[in-house]
């Protein structure tokens, strides 16, 4: 930004001071040049009589020389020079006056006297008075002495007046100069501020452009900004795409509420006990600073979109509340997928568990029919059928449970649970399989039990998983130790076997086997869904890789931890810790 008012040349010293044309003439040699030239012309034409030719020529020569010096030295600021030249000119006037004896030549005094009177100190005035007296004294032989005195007094009075005026003018000139310097400084400040403002404006414009380009680059999320009353002010391409309305058709003319279902807003108002309309939409964001939840957007074609909308308040440049921001992600397909997943889980639940009910129920009827007892061979065959049906049932249960954990619908039925009893029950469950595999199970639990707060069924499931895993991965002749004891978890997370200050009591259940172990590179994946170790696959150990995932989920849901230590070829120890009520 430029200011035309500042656009004029500066003086050499940087100021904007200037001298008026009239003052230049008066201060320069022009006045004397004009006067002496006029006198020379009058002498040549005989208008002024010449009494002494030599004096007149000497006077003209002196005048020419002094005036020439004045022209040559007009830019000099030498005080001596500015006094010497007018003094020389006074001498020339004296010669002319003496050579002509004409009073007309006295008019030539005006030039040098003016120049002397304009000097800043009184020395010029003194030189002018003395010089004038000298000029007037030259023809005193012919004039009465009174004229000499009167002329000197006139010159003194006039010179004094001129000098006073010159001083006042000089003072005024200095004031003007000072004002002009101050003005220049102010103008410089204004220019600086103007430059800063210009820079700030460019930065703001660049930022605004950056922000606009970023918002415009978002095509898969809707970004909508509104005033406090819900009038739309920002509408990005993502909103255009999601709702099918171009920006010019909504900005400043439509409300955010035009794209919501009124009945959904009414229901939200009822739930939150707040006003309906915009207040229902922004109530939670107003209360908590932000709010993210699903809302139904109504597109231009009337279709409904399920949108996860993040709502935040918007402030103006002074921090005052100015409106609301709505950033939406279309979740229509994702929510449909989740519903399909739930439906799939439900389908699995019904379609697999129902036939299993038939299989197990009729097996039970056949095997328990006292009227028609089975042969041992028949019973053995049907026992195999039942065992595999039970295995299939467990797999279905594991799949359903995993789906519940993933969807967040996994809930616990808390109660006081004696973990010692849970461990003994797990040993009993695994006893037959362990004996068949030639594996010994040793149980070491506190005689007085160890009670935790938890879901007995789920904790039993977790313990069964650990023990059955150990049995499956331990070769014949191996051993499994089930050890339950008390411990304390320090604030740093370390579990120790003795009470320490500020440590929380925990139950430690370790299941240690002498099995094939887990390769070090695979231990980090042990709790990943459907992961099976290379050892398990190589040795055809049955399983689908859900047991440890489920066990970990159950442990975590109880506020506990599940860790493992394993050395390939030596064995594996799983350690579960569960908080014990204080």
């Amino acid at each position: 930004m430029s200011l035309a008012v500042l656009d004029r040349p500066q003086a050499a010293d940087g100021s904007w001071t200037r001298r008026s044309p009239v003052a230049g003439v008066l201060h320069g040699p022009l006045l004397c040049t004009v006067l002496f030239t006029g006198a020379a012309l009058l002498l040549l034409t005989g208008s002024i009589p010449v009494a002494d030719r030599d004096l007149v020529l000497a006077g003209l020569a002196a005048a020419s020389a002094a005036t020439g010096v004045a022209w040559a030295a007009r830019r000099s600021r030498s005080v001596a020079g500015s006094v010497a030249v007018p003094a020389a000119q006074l001498g020339a006037v004296a010669l002319l006056h003496a050579g002509t004896g004409s009073a007309t030549t006295l008019l030539l005094l005006v030039g040098p006297l003016w120049a002397l009177a304009m000097q800043p100190d009184r020395r010029g005035l003194l030189v002018g008075v003395l010089g004038s007296a000298a000029v007037l004294s030259v023809p005193a032989v012919t004039d009465p002495p009174g004229a000499l005195l009167l002329g000197t007094l006139v010159v003194a009075a006039g010179g004094s007046a001129v000098h006073g005026t010159a001083r006042r003018l000089a003072a005024r000139s200095r004031e003007i100069g000072q004002l002009e310097r101050e003005q220049a400084a102010l103008l410089a400040q204004v220019q600086s501020r103007a430059d800063e403002l210009d820079t700030a404006s460019r930065i703001l414009a660049a930022r605004a452009q950056t922000m606009t380009s970023v918002i415009d680059a978002v095509t898969e999320q809707s970004i909508i900004g509104t005033d406090r009353d819900g009038t739309i002010r920002v509408w990005n391409p993502g909103a255009e795409k999601m709702l099918g309305v171009p920006r010019p058709d909504v900005v400043r003319t439509r409300s955010i509420l035009d794209f919501h279902l009124p009945e959904e807003l009414d229901a939200a108002a009822a739930d939150r006990a707040c006003g309906t309309g915009l207040e229902a939409l922004v109530h939670a964001a107003r209360e908590h600073g932000s709010d993210v939840r699903d809302w139904t957007y109504v597109a231009a074609d009337g279709s409904h979109r399920t949108v996860s909308v993040a709502i935040t308040p918007r402030s103006d440049d002074r921090g005052a509340h100015a409106g609301w921001n709505f950033v939406g992600t279309d979740m229509t397909e994702a929510r449909a997928t989740e519903r399909m997943k739930d439906q799939f889980v439900s389908l699995i639940s019904h379609e697999l568990r129902t036939p299993l009910s038939s299989i197990l129920g009729y097996l039970e009827l056949v095997m328990d029919d006292e009227d028609q007892p089975l042969t041992d061979e028949q019973r053995q065959y049907l026992a195999t059928v039942e065992r595999n049906a039970q295995r299939l049932l467990r797999l279905v249960g594991d799949l359903l449970f995993t789906a519940q954990v993933e969807s967040g619908r996994f809930t616990l039925q808390p109660a006081d649970v004696d973990l010692a009893g849970v461990v003994r029950a797990a040993e009993e469950t695994a006893r037959v399989a362990a004996a068949a595999a030639g594996v010994q199970i040793v149980v070491d639990v506190p005689d007085d039990g160890l009670v935790v707060a938890g879901d007995a069924v789920r904790l039993g499931q977790a313990c069964d998983n650990l023990v059955s895993n150990a049995v499956k991965f331990t070769p014949a002749g191996g051993r499994i130790d089930l050890v339950l004891r008390r411990g304390w978890r320090t604030p740093e997370g370390e579990v120790v076997d003795h009470r320490v200050p500020e440590a929380a009591p925990v139950a430690l259940l370790s299941v240690a086997d002498t099995g094939m172990g887990i390769p070090a590179g695979e231990q980090g994946q042990m709790f990943t869904r459907f992961f099976r170790t290379s050892n398990a696959q190589r040795n055809a150990v049955p399983g689908v890789g859900l047991g440890l995932t489920i066990t970990k989920a159950i442990t975590t849901a109880h506020g506990g931890t599940l860790d493992l230590e394993s050395t390939e070829g030596v064995g594996t120890t799983f350690t579960m810790t569960l908080p014990v009520p204080g």
Binding site: S349, T354, L356, S357, G361, L365, T411
Partner: protein, 143 residues
């Protein structure tokens, strides 16, 4: 009468003092299995319905002592039948046992909240179902 409503097994008739039981399940095999369990428990199956609509109509017409209902059925779910029976004074006293493949705590809670006296998740054992039927017949609290 719809053949599907006949109780399987061709029972000769109710024993004296036997409770009258309505069985409803859209799975033929399960429905037959439940009927067998009811008889083992000493009950008499008055109706074996293949869907919810038939089951509700039969319950209102026959006024059985006990209804063993599958939760997931076409026509009307076991929960809807439960609610409907409890809403009518004539049927409000029918004892109800719900069977369901849904075994989550939420599903059990919903079933009991609808008015069921007991809830048995599938797969169930015949012995367990027999115990439930006997307990309901005797008016005992069911675990």
């Amino acid at each position: 009468m719809d053949p599907a409503l006949h109780s399987p097994g061709g029972s000769a008739g109710p024993a004296p003092g036997a409770i009258r039981v309505l069985v409803a399940d859209d799975e033929d095999d399960i429905r037959a299995l439940v009927c067998l369990a009811v008889r083992k428990a000493g009950g008499h199956v008055v109706v074996a319905a293949p869907n919810g609509t038939t089951a509700l109509a039969a319950a209102r017409a026959q006024l059985p002592d006990l209804a063993v209902l599958d939760v997931s059925m076409p026509g009307a779910t076991g929960l809807e039948i439960c609610t409907a029976l409890r809403a009518t004074p004539a049927t409000a006293g029918i004892r109800i046992l719900l069977l369901s493949a849904g075994a989550s705590p939420d599903e059990v809670t919903r079933g009991l909240a609808a008015g069921a006296d007991a809830y048995l998740p599938k797969p169930f054992t015949v012995a367990g179902l027999v115990r439930q039927v006997r307990a309901l017949a005797a008016g005992e609290p069911v675990a």
